[in-house]
């Protein structure tokens, strides 16, 4: 009978515990939800920790306003400013502050661009969870958990150290994505995601706060304000310049702006509010083209805001040119440009912009006539089409069934028939497609097929499918149609609501 | 001894009391049987079996029961 502990026992016990810890880590990773849609907290964070040390000088923080509202890659490519965005959706100030501390730990942060939306928001546990549960354990994370515990809705501390206790019931909804999701990381560049949607429904009066009435009941959330003050203090101690901005959104109010102005005054911080006529004009942000939805900019708007901020940054500070450093990742830049081109195409809501975007050898277009286009056709639109390679005159065609295939001025196929017809063709890279032209049909649902997959348009007119023959992907599909309300041709893209 | 076996048979005729010396421990006789046995023994031998004596050891075998009865007769 063994009466005392001997070496083998100790080794066994230690080995068992080690394996247990490893397994626990893997199992927790699988069970934990991956927040990779929306503002992609998971990818944004993971990508950050892969960045080279001391390669970042500007931190972008705040809510989704800045995830979509600024392009850190553009700051780098066009201005040499090395920025990274750890803004995330509905980011509580404490989380932003945490990210700042993390960034300062491994990078040379000189400046912070901070969007102030969340100062007026009540906090919710789920928003904290996304940050806390995704972040790797560190001294700062420990600090954040302890701070967070002060909030009334904070959950039991052990669930932050052992997230499996909270998420284990997800076992019944696990998907492939839970096991490997790295290859889904295609849109996040230096923490920013550019939006490919252009809304045409932004109302200038709602957006611009200059003429708003003051509503005294709008006040900042105490807890958010508390951590904001701490963050300001931290920046002062670390000699980091803190710049406050407010990206344009229709739900921002003058009262809110006035409140932030007071804070900025108190701490002598620069504050740029893009909801004012002054800055909207100065930045050139166009309500017709540059907004994704009521509260966020799309890629066009983000780049304009980026340009404005870049000028300010360069005028007020010096930055190491990130384009000449070791940290410069050419592969990443290459993917960034492809993503950018695609999104400029996807946000083109006039035929002009579309044609500009289509001047690209990657994009091959299949066109099919499914509705009335001849009635209001004019020379201008005809000329634009011809830039793509179209040789048929739409006015003369008189809405006869028509299908064409083009690339950047080159014509691969063009046919018009008396009656409705279907064409089966191939793109120049061999991918098969099928298109049907039936302008007099009653079907609202018009479609095409590429590589066997159905594509819907939900509108009658001149349908375009744009296919990337280099990367084998459908990049865009839209309908050119005559918009009675506007008295001009417009681009329609079907969005599921 | 004869008397004892007869009394036991009256309590529960289906049990072979001589087959084991672990009648209680092996659950050959259960608590209901014991109650009947107690009643029969008390009546047959004019004794009072108090709670101190109602332990498995005293009922596990016919011999043990006989010893207990003798002791109580005194």
């Amino acid at each position: 009978m063994k009466r005392s502990i001997n070496k083998i026992h100790v080794i066994k016990t230690v080995a068992f515990l080690l394996i247990f810890v490893l397994l626990l880590g893997s199992v927790t990773d699988i069970l934990q939800p991956k927040w990779i849609d929306g503002t992609s907290v998971t990818f944004v964070q993971e990508n950050f920790y892969k960045e080279k040390k001391n390669s970042i000088e500007v931190a972008v923080l705040g809510s989704s306003q800045l995830v979509y509202g600024i392009s850190s890659m553009r700051l780098l490519e066009n201005y040499g400013i090395s920025a990274y965005s750890l803004a995330t959706g509905e980011q509580p100030v404490l989380c932003g502050y945490f990210y700042l501390r993390e960034m300062a730990r491994s990078q040379n942060i000189k400046t912070v661009i901070y969007d102030v939306s969340m100062l007026y928001e009540e906090e919710q546990e789920s928003r904290f969870r996304k940050t806390i549960d995704t972040a790797p354990m560190s001294r700062n994370k420990l600090w954040m958990i302890l701070e967070h515990r002060n909030l009334s809705f904070a959950e039991s501390a052990r669930t932050y150290f052992f997230p499996i206790m909270k998420y284990h019931s997800r076992w019944e909804e696990l998907e492939e994505m839970d096991y490997h999701y790295a290859d889904l990381n295609t849109e996040v560049f230096k923490g920013n995601i550019m939006s490919p949607i252009a809304s045409q429904k932004i109302n200038y009066e709602k957006l611009c706060v200059d003429n708003d009435e003051i509503d005294a009941s709008i006040t900042m959330d105490e807890s958010e304000l508390h951590y904001f003050r701490e963050m300001v203090q931290y920046c002062k101690e670390q000699n980091i310049e803190l710049i406050l901005i407010k990206t344009p959104k229709t739900t921002w109010t003058k009262s809110a702006m006035v409140g932030v102005e007071a804070l900025a005054e108190e701490y002598q911080l620069p504050y740029m509010d893009f909801n004012t006529a002054e800055l909207l004009e100065a930045s050139g942000i166009d309500i017709e083209k540059d907004f994704w939805n009521q509260d966020h900019l799309n890629i066009r708007g983000a780049e304009k805001l980026t340009d404005y901020m870049a000028e300010y940054l360069l005028a007020n500070g010096t930055y190491t040119d990130g384009r000449n450093t070791e940290a410069y990742d050419e592969e990443e830049v290459r993917k960034y440009y492809i993503d950018r081109e695609n999104k400029y195409l996807q946000t083109s809501n006039s035929l002009e912009d579309v044609m500009t975007a289509l001047k690209n050898d990657r994009y091959e277009v299949v066109m099919q006539l499914t509705g009335d286009i001849a009635s209001h056709w004019n020379e201008n639109t005809q000329q634009l089409l011809e830039e793509l390679g179209v040789s048929v005159n739409m006015a003369e065609l008189q809405n006869a069934p028509f299908i064409g295939q083009y690339k950047n001025g080159n014509r691969f196929y063009e046919e018009s028939q008396e009656k409705e017809f279907t064409h089966e063709g191939t793109f120049s890279n061999g991918t098969a497609y099928e298109a049907t032209s039936n302008p007099s049909g009653n079907e609202m649902e018009t479609g095409a097929k590429i590589a066997g997959e159905e594509i819907g348009f939900q509108k009658k007119g001149l349908n375009f499918c744009v296919y990337d023959t280099v990367n084998n992907k459908l990049v865009d599909n839209f309908t050119l149609y005559y918009d009675e309300d506007r008295g001009d041709f417009n681009i329609y893209r079907y969005r599921e609501s | 001894m004869e008397e004892l076996l007869e009394a036991l048979k009256r309590a529960n005729g289906k049990i072979d009391y001589l087959s084991s010396n672990k009648l209680v421990t092996d659950k050959i006789i259960d608590s209901i049987d014991i109650t009947s046995i107690l009643a029969e023994l008390e009546e047959t031998f004019d004794i009072e079996i108090s709670m101190e004596y109602i332990v498995p050891e005293n009922f596990d075998s016919v011999e043990a029961m006989w010893e207990m009865v003798q002791e109580l007769k005194d």
Partner: protein, 529 residues
């Protein structure tokens, strides 16, 4: 603190470390200290109760012990005749009786008051208002000390054992307190006798790596049974028995039998955690279950289910009543007028009824538990009185009572009787029980098995299926256990297999256990901000 809280594991680890650091002969004191700490954490206001009960019983036991010692001395010294000896014995017994009764009655009274006061809430409030005071006495004021049913019964067993001279009295209060308050068995038993547990607590506590591991493995199995099997089934049965649930017919049938598995998994799971924890310290606790569903009769069932309770009631209620003067007098008068068989039935019925009603009320207070007690009294009475009749009938009908399928029939029959008992107490009111039974018997709705209705009672489809899988696993392991210790079987395998099984068990608990506040996916949906 319950057995499945993190607090408990931290506590257990700390206690074990201190225990084994301590020199061997003082280790029992660590157990005592740990048990007192455990009890205090559960509720420091409960501590006086257990101290009072254990101390009064200890004092009574010591007094009786002294009296008996004196008596023995007396009997040896002088030359006495039989009559004198008898007198001395009677005197001693009477003196002891006083001490015993004092300790017995005041502690039983405490137990009864604590358990039944909630029924007095309304009358007391009425009285208070009648006296012009505010009637806001509520059940919240009643203190129910942790494990009071268990430790009271343990202490009383010692008291009576000393009184009936079956046990030596304990001279050291600290030792006795340890027996009463020993933390692994204070929550849910088993109810141990002083002669067994008391002795084991005086053993030599030596470290044994294999034994500690075995104890941990048993705890893991117990936690698995409770968190993965039992708590999952409970979600289903709770939803089925809820007021206003849409359950009908076969759903109730499912609930009846799953509920049986539930109570077995839950209770035996807790027992395993207790036994496993105790094994870490080298103290063996008695088994409380011995494959109860292999029982072929109700009486056998109660020798295999919650064995320590059945045995307690047998030794301290059933036998005393059936050998009491009252019952003997009844027997005498019956014998004069009635046939023997009838007399025997009546004479059996009295202690059986009293014992079972008491057992029912020990489990819980309320009409449902009273009904439960009477139900079992009736079942056992039937089994005892007519068991032979049925057996002879079966033989006459040429039914083979020795074959395997008949034995299965007996086991199923016993399980059904047990399910019937559960049906009296689980739903919450007798009205609900009746409704459930009626629906199960009168409504035949086999379509619920395939049209998805099964998944509308607290468990999603995946969870329901997982529940069935774990129930089958549980059954399989129970059957395997009849061949011998499963832990030993596993221990004989190679390291990779052993550790594979241990990790599988632990992670099954972490992943499939019903614990934690859960995760509401909808609250995480990103509202573009």
């Amino acid at each position: 603190m319950t057995f499945i809280e993190m607090q408990f594991f931290v506590f257990l680890f700390a206690a074990a470390v201190i225990f084994y650091i301590c020199p061997v002969k003082h280790r029992w004191k660590v157990l005592l200290g740990a048990s007192i700490v455990f009890y205090a954490i559960a509720g420091i206001k409960y501590l006086p109760f257990i101290l009072f009960t254990s101390f009064t019983v200890f004092l009574a036991g010591r007094k009786m012990g002294h009296i008996y010692e004196e008596m023995e001395q007396h009997l040896l010294e002088e030359n006495l005749d039989r009559k004198a000896k008898k007198e001395i014995k009677e005197q001693a017994k009477n003196r002891c009786k006083k001490a015993m009764l004092a300790a017995l009655l005041c502690n039983l009274l405490i137990l009864i008051i604590v358990k039944f006061t909630k029924f007095a809430v309304n009358p007391i409030n009425d009285l208070l208002t009648a006296l012009g005071q505010e009637g806001n006495f509520s059940a919240a004021y009643i203190i129910v000390p942790l494990g009071i049913s268990y430790y009271t019964f343990s202490c009383l067993s010692y008291l009576l054992d000393v009184y009936w001279k079956r046990e030596e009295y304990e001279n050291n209060y600290a030792r006795f307190l340890l027996y009463a308050i020993y933390f692994p068995h204070i929550l849910q038993g088993p109810i141990e006798r002083y002669g067994r547990l008391g002795k084991r607590l005086k053993g030599e506590f030596l470290f044994d790596y294999d034994r500690v591991c075995a104890g941990l493995q048993l705890m893991v199995w117990g936690i698995f049974k409770k968190l993965v099997i039992a708590d999952r089934i409970n979600l289903f049965t709770t939803a089925v028995y809820e007021k206003g649930s849409q359950a009908e017919g076969l759903i109730y049938v499912f609930a009846f039998f799953l509920d049986v598995v539930y109570i077995y998994a839950d209770f035996s799971g807790c027992m395993d955690i207790a036994r496993g924890a105790s094994q870490i310290f080298g103290v063996e606790l008695d088994l409380n279950f011995n494959h109860p569903f292999a029982s072929k009769s109700v009486t056998e069932f109660w020798r295999r289910w919650h064995m320590s309770l059945g045995s307690w009631f047998k030794d301290y209620v059933y036998y005393p009543i059936s050998t009491s003067k009252f019952v003997k007098n009844v027997a005498k008068s019956c014998k004069k007028h009635l046939p023997d068989a009838v007399t025997r039935s009546i004479v059996t019925a009295i202690p059986v009824t009293v014992t079972w009603v008491a057992t029912g009320l020990w489990h819980g207070t309320g009409v449902t538990y009273l009904a439960w007690g009477l139900y079992y009294a009736f079942m056992i009475f039937m089994s005892v009185s007519f068991g032979d009749l049925f057996h002879n009938l079966a033989l006459k009908l040429k039914i083979n009572t020795q074959c395997w399928s008949y034995k299965v029939f007996q086991m199923v029959r016993t399980t059904c009787i047990f399910a019937g008992g559960r049906l009296l107490t689980r739903p919450g009111t007798l009205g609900l029980s009746w409704h459930a039974l009626k629906s199960a018997l009168l409504q035949f709705n086999p379509w619920v098995l395939t049209d998805g209705t099964l998944y509308e009672f607290g468990l999603s489809r995946s969870n329901f299926n997982l529940m069935l899988v774990t129930v089958v696993l549980f059954g399989g392991i129970s059957i395997l256990q009849q061949k011998g210790s499963v832990r030993d079987m596993i221990a004989k395998q190679n390291l990779a297999v052993r550790w594979g099984i241990y990790f599988a068990a632990i992670f099954s608990i972490l992943i499939f256990g019903i614990y934690g506040s859960g995760y509401d996916a909808s609250s995480f949906v990103y509202m573009a901000y």
